[in-house]
Point group: C3
Chain length 231, copies 3
């Protein structure tokens, strides 16, 4: 079901049972898998591949308990050229995904996120709202990227990273502050990074480390709590 | 494909390629996204929103290796009023979700689970069978809630919690006992809580803590293994 | 939409909005849920159940940043007899799943993986490429199995395992080496196992342990870093 207001590029391949809602714009040479849903206003670049069952352009919701309601107005979802999106993904309105990005199966990306050129968001990765991801960054499978987090260029995140942004754990006295991972930082698998922590340029966080203090540039930290090691 | 035995409320919006199986009951003012599957006997309240591709009312399965087979008879899935369900969720028969609950995208909830009013089950959260969750509880993204666990009212669980219920790790000598999180307990991101552990009222578990002993009410524990800190 | 080249067994039940692409082979007594996609060349055995929205036989992709491109030629996906596959799964071409395996909802399994008879791959488990899993193994919910990993027969993995295979964390100087879990090893929930680590026969890794050194047969390790305990 393709709405008659959709602007369709040339040489677009569309699978079975696809829905493209009103005012969506689809570039040239795009491949859209089976059962894909492209919500209203979404803008898809050229040479993009979207695998089966993915949902693009979703609108956030809230319930009574949520202290922070999602914004009422959000710009369109914008997907650049040469982006590849896996199966069963959910990507929200108000987000921009730049050229050459790869997004794995079963990943979800919330509203107001920016992902820079040629970065990789792995399978089953969850990216929360208002997060900035640079270019040539890698976020491996099943990692969790909290809201208001910054991941700079060339950062490499192993599988199963856990992050948080609320030092009062839901008691709402404070501002949400996600961690900041500076350029070229490397994070081992299943590390935990606490709210507002800064990981310096080219620093390394070991697998399973629980990072409770800032890490200096080029420093290597391991353990729970994480402490520097001297090499 | 809507079965002719379905009882449909008034003012129901239904997306494309939706399936509603026999004997399902849909309340008033319900919004059903594209490609949603509502299995037989499911009962959906009023003002419920179900996003694209979610599957409601699934029946559990087993293979030869599973020691504990799922029950042969399960009551219907019951969803209360004002519930919001994300995209790509899977929710089983025999479970009750009360009014005002929010369930994030890509979450799965097994059979015989109860979730109280206005609680939040985050994106990609997995809730196993026979678990009780109170009201106004929050379970953040990518957390894992094991079977036979109890989460009381106002508990707040950060992202990536891991829990378990089998102290013999699959050797089957013992009963499954999930952790019990008492009223108002707060759990930091990526904590691990062992089988049968009780986290007392308003206690706090730090990020990345591995909790091997009960935690007293109001106590704060951190580390691996988790130990109390004095503030 | 079932391609006319598909070889269909007898007594096959097919849900609504299903796609079966060319040259797929479906055995006898197979049950295919709603919105399932079976990609070209996939071979499904007898008595197999596939739940709603799953995608079988997907082809891997890459972007510019990925150092290791997926192989250009991959054999068919082969699924044995009596296999049960949950909802919202993604399983790739070039993988073999043997008889009696159970795969939970929202699981993803990459190319060139073998899973032995009667093993269990839990809900939301991610299995990367080129991994060998033996028979009667259990991998519980939300665990992460890295590429080039070996899981032998009767291994039991609790929920939320994290593994990795790249000791240089993305800097590409070395070969990828996944951990090896020997026969009957038991892994507690949320453990982290580093690249190339060998967990000996019937050894036990405690919940939340960070395993940085090989573990001897029958040994029990806990902590961060993991150390043996004497019982």
């Amino acid at each position: 079901m393709i709405d008659r207001t959709v602007k369709m590029g040339s040489n677009v391949k569309i699978g079975e049972y696809v829905i493209i809602e009103r005012n969506a714009v689809i570039g040239d040479n795009v491949t859209i898998g089976h059962h894909v849903v492209i919500k209203e206003d979404s803008r898809i670049g050229n040479n993009v591949t979207i695998n089966d069952h993915s949902v693009l352009g979703q609108t956030p919701v809230a319930n009574k308990k949520m202290a922070r309601k999602p914004p009422k107005y959000l710009s369109s979802l914008v997907i650049g050229d040469d982006v590849k999106i896996g199966s069963q993904c959910v990507i929200y309105r108000g987000t921009t995904i730049m050229d050459g990005v790869l997004i794995g199966d079963l990943a979800a990306i919330r509203e107001k996120v920016t992902i820079g050129n040629n970065s990789i968001v792995g399978r089953n990765v969850m990216v929360e709202n208002n997060t900035q991801i640079g270019q040539y960054a890698t976020i491996q499978t099943s990692s969790y990227v909290t809201a208001y987090m910054v991941i700079e260029d060339y950062v490499f995140i192993g599988p199963c990273l856990s992050t948080s942004n609320d030092k009062y754990i839901g008691t709402r006295n404070g501002e949400l502050k996600g961690p900041i991972l500076r350029k070229g930082a490397k994070i081992g698998n299943n590390a935990s990074i606490l709210p507002g922590i800064i990981i310096g340029e080219k620093a390394t966080v070991g697998a399973g480390a629980v990072v409770t203090k800032d890490v200096k540039p080029n420093e290597v930290v391991v353990g729970n709590p994480a402490r520097p090691i001297h090499r």
